[in-house]
């Protein structure tokens, strides 16, 4: 009788594998299954490899550095706009967590596509701007914005909760500063990605 991996273990591995590699790697692990410990060892190595490959394919080192600079600058700008105290260390911490969230999105998120099921693409198809270059660009910026806004918001929220629980909450930029920062950073990252996609000839590289 063929042995099957424990359901809980298989479900955990499925969650941890990036979507493009999920189907084939789960099949390979299932075929090689001999014991839960061997399955776990194989899965750990395969997950690490799949995440690394997906990161290498979807983001570049220079792109990540550029985006981190943009996010940092956006939070500094929002602190200046808000007129609050400019404390750079917490802003760097928020930037690090936001970048981790963006990288997570690049590995596990769905790729940017021109699918008609995408609500933004559907709206653009119906709108009067359909066919115009400006409309197409606006749609792409909104699409990119929708993909970066939540990870940036999540990164900020996570940092804020962490600060509230473990540190002096005043060390984190004021809540309005962070909300402004989320919007400015999202817009800046979306525009940066649009520019880099254009430079590559409109082939989307970012999965996030």
């Amino acid at each position: 009788m063929p042995m099957n991996p424990p359901r809980f273990l298989a479900a955990t591995v499925k969650c941890l594998l990036p979507p493009p590699a999920r189907e084939t790697i789960l099949g390979d692990l299932h075929e090689r299954y001999t014991s839960p410990s061997a399955y776990a060892a194989d899965a750990a190595s395969a997950i690490a490899a799949a995440v690394l490959s997906q990161l290498r394919r979807s983001v570049s080192f220079s792109g990540v550095v550029l985006e981190a600079s943009v996010v940092y600058a956006a939070f500094v700008a929002s602190a200046l706009i808000q007129g609050g105290p400019l404390i750079l260390a917490p802003i760097a911490r928020v930037t690090a967590i936001v970048m981790a969230a963006l990288l997570w999105r690049a590995v596990y998120g769905s790729p940017l596509s021109a699918s008609k099921k995408d609500p933004l693409v559907a709206w653009w198809k119906r709108s009067r701007m359909n066919g115009s270059v400006a409309g197409r660009r606006l749609c792409k910026v909104l699409q990119l914005l929708s993909r970066v806004y939540l990870p940036i918001y999540f990164g900020c929220g996570a940092t804020w909760c962490w600060q509230l629980m473990f540190r002096n909450s005043r060390a984190f930029p004021a809540i309005m500063t962070s909300l402004n920062g989320v919007f400015i950073a999202s817009l800046a990252v979306a525009l940066l990605r649009l520019a880099s996609d254009r430079a590559r000839g409109d082939r989307p590289r970012h999965a996030a």
């Binding site: 189907e23 099949g27 190595s45 490959s53």
Partner: protein
Amino acid sequence: MSRPDSAGAFEQLVLTAILVLREDAYGVTIHAKVEDLARPKKVSLGAVYVTLDRLEDKGLISSTLSKPTAERGGRSKRCYRLDAAGEAALQESAITAKRVWDSTMKIWGKDWARQCQ
């Protein structure tokens, strides 16, 4: 710095495995063949996946998804095949390896060669 179409030592093993396995080259069989070629070294499954992805990005191999099978829990295989650039890279590596073999044979002799078998 290596040329984009050249293959490193581990990449040569993976390319050889794909060449030998022909139609049956997918994750599990490639890993088994690479482990056989690299013995006594142990090779992790992850190392094979990373290399397969890199070779695909270099344009040395291409892949297709097969139909799902019951022995794989209803999941499909990603089958790999060598592209023309991959065959050329492997041939280049094999010629270099042959030169290394001939040169070392001259120095260390046939007894050493017999031990390698």
